[in-house]
């Protein structure tokens, strides 16, 4: 059932809880309704009301660490090649209050022989130099990533190198850019993976990716999609609107009745009207039509 899907796409999250009297009345109403319907399972409202709250995981606090251990940890940190910028990143990564807490935690880990979740920024920068990242490449990357300055760009690129990847491979070609824009339009219109599966089938495409790109292109050109596919609703038909747009496209391209007769013969269709729809659909999809002569 798609009830959950519809809910997820149509709701806003609550920001405040209802008052107690409202909650009580709601539960009573729910129980009465379910009893009337003969449903024996507890309503979600009642189940939630009885649940115990999950216990919070204790957060790391450097003030909880013994002073001597704290000093050792900081010394280990200083000797590690990690710097303040890394401490900030680690604090975010671990959800800690500040960079100092991160240093202490990280130093403690290093002393115990563990490695940290990511390499230092200095190490990453070095990796860029070691891999011969050119100035021009760095500029290209900076423009695409929006990183601030040459150093930052090299650091970010360095992490790619450390993972064995080519940072330049992350930049899409103009053709790929266009495809991503079309896919954006596809999702923004509310379509999803399931719709892409249907479209790929209708259009005889191999992958949902191709279907999304094609559909996104049609959406951006304000053309209708084929029947059976509309966001949230796999039962809506666009059959009629598709016919209408196709016949329009047929005539707008300068073809006439005689052409339709010819096309019907060529394609083995029953009527010239069928030919108009088929031809118009091809015109809209920018596919070529057979040569009809003068």
């Amino acid at each position: 059932m798609t009830a959950t899907q519809n809910t997820a796409k149509g709701t806003n999250r609550r920001t405040t809880a209802p008052s107690t009297s409202v909650s009580v009345r709601k539960m009573a109403a729910g129980a009465a309704l379910l009893a009337m319907l003969g449903v024996t399972t507890a309503s979600p409202v009642l189940a939630r009301a009885n649940a115990t709250p999950a216990s919070a995981v204790a957060a790391f606090k450097s003030s909880d660490v013994e002073r001597t251990d704290r000093l050792d940890a900081v010394e280990a940190w200083k000797a590690s090649g990690y710097a303040y910028g890394d401490a900030e990143q680690l604090a975010l990564f671990w959800g800690l209050d500040g960079a100092f807490d991160a240093k202490v935690k990280a130093g403690g880990l290093l002393l115990d022989g563990y490695s940290l979740p990511f390499a230092s920024r200095a190490a990453a920068h070095q990796a860029s130099l070691d891999n011969g990242l050119s100035y021009a490449d760095a500029l290209t990357l900076a423009e695409y990533w929006g990183t601030d300055g040459n150093y930052e760009t090299k650091v970010k690129a360095g992490y790619y190198f450390l993972d064995g990847l080519d940072p330049l491979g992350s930049i899409p070609t103009p053709e790929e850019e266009q495809q991503y824009r079309q896919i954006d339009a596809y999702f923004e219109a509310g379509y999803d993976y399931d719709d892409a599966v249907v479209l790929a089938d209708i259009w005889g495409l191999e992958t949902e990716f191709e279907a999304k790109v094609k559909a996104g292109g049609l959406i951006k050109a304000e053309q209708p999609l084929p029947d059976g596919v509309a966001p949230f609703d796999h039962d809506t038909t666009f059959e009629i609107s598709e016919d209408f747009a196709a016949v329009d496209a047929f005539f707008d391209s300068g073809y006439d009745y005689d052409d339709a007769v010819q096309l019907a013969e060529i394609w083995g269709l029953e009527t010239p009207y069928d030919a108009k729809i088929t031809a118009g659909t091809k015109v809209l999809a920018e596919l070529p039509l057979p040569d009809l002569g003068a």
């Binding site: 519809n6 319907l37 409202v45 966001p231 609703d233 039962d235 009629i240 009207y273």
Partner: protein
């Protein structure tokens, strides 16, 4: 028992149509069949994609006093069981346009079945339009050449689709269902894949804070339970619980003190309150409702009158719960 309007989506067998059911019912009740247009549209998938509006032949069974006993129309959600390549309803017309105003204008000028080329030309002419004919289709354009509407045939076996629409039914509800659905079964009508049954209740009793609150809770917290109980058709996807924002509205601290006009106004402003939910409250909260009903949309279709009778009775119970509890607090 509440006074209700019932809609059931069924399918005529191959070679037959909803007109056959209209004729059978008319014979049974010594009434007449009148042909008319049914206007509908596909919901806009995206604000930039045009919504297409169309009208197709519909049939009304009307008694000697002119009262409507039954209406049978097309339903665009019914597609799966039809063969789109067949073209069997040769004289049935379908008019397509992107502006419903043109449909309403053309509806007064064109016959739904058997309109000749001359009649289409005359209709176009009377509206200042040009008709260009290519086979069975006529493209109507205005003086600047802009396309206004397409008057075409109706391929794809759409004449088989039969949405049964009842008049308001009170005490005679069971007999009405037994007759109409019974005749449909005799004629070989079946339940199409996307079939649903909708039930309309008078909206007026729901227009108070308490009832509306219970209505919203019923169709959000218990949407799933109701669907399980009704046996909602999983192939119907134009459904869903009401949005969370409506729940938030009825649980606000100041909600009980709000008057109905304010509640309705707030509800209208909520994004996601559309017709295509488990319950259609659009007319309930509307300023000037077109059809003054609340519509429950999650019942499955059936060719068994008894099943439909039982299902509607169940919805009666839900409505009693929503309204009855309010009465206790009043």
């Amino acid at each position: 028992m509440h006074r209700v309007g019932i809609e059931v989506e069924l399918l005529a067998p191959v070679g037959s149509s909803r007109l056959e059911l209209a004729r059978a019912v008319a014979t049974e009740w010594d009434a007449d069949v009148r042909t008319s247009w049914h206007l509908d549209s596909e919901p806009a998938a995206h604000e930039q994609i045009k919504v297409f509006h169309h009208m197709t032949p519909a049939f009304d069974v009307v008694d000697q006093e002119g009262r409507q006993l039954l209406r049978l129309v097309d339903d665009i959600t019914i597609r799966h069981d039809l063969d789109p390549r067949r073209q069997t309803a040769e004289r049935w017309s379908r008019v397509v346009t992107d502006d419903p105003r043109f449909l309403r204008m053309l509806a007064t000028k064109l016959a739904p079945i058997g309109a000749s080329q001359a009649e289409v030309e005359a209709a176009a002419d009377s509206l200042g339009l040009e008709a260009a004919f290519h086979d069975a289709a006529a493209k109507l354009t205005d003086s600047s050449g802009a396309s206004v509407a397409l008057v075409a045939g109706m391929p794809g076996e759409r004449e088989r689709v039969c949405e049964i629409i009842s008049p308001p039914l009170g005490g005679g509800r069971n007999e009405w269902l037994e007759t109409v659905v019974g005749l449909a079964t005799q004629l070989g009508f079946t339940v199409p894949q996307e079939s649903a049954t909708h039930v309309h209740y008078d909206a007026a009793p729901f227009r108070n804070a308490e009832a509306f609150q219970r209505l919203v809770w019923t169709f959000t917290e218990h949407a799933e339970a109701l669907r399980a109980r009704f046996g909602t058709n999983p192939h119907c996807t134009r459904l869903g619980p009401l949005p969370q924002a409506v729940v938030d509205l009825v649980e606000r601290d100041d909600y009980e003190a709000m008057d109905w006009a304010t509640i309705a106004k707030e509800a209208r402003a909520i994004d996601g309150v559309t017709k295509y939910r488990d319950i259609n409250i659009m007319n309930l909260v509307a300023d000037a409702p077109v059809l003054d009903t609340v519509e429950v949309r999650t019942l499955p279709g059936s060719t068994s009158a008894q099943t439909l009778i039982d299902l509607v009775a169940m919805v009666d119970g839900v409505v009693d719960h929503v309204l009855g509890q309010a009465a206790q607090h009043a």
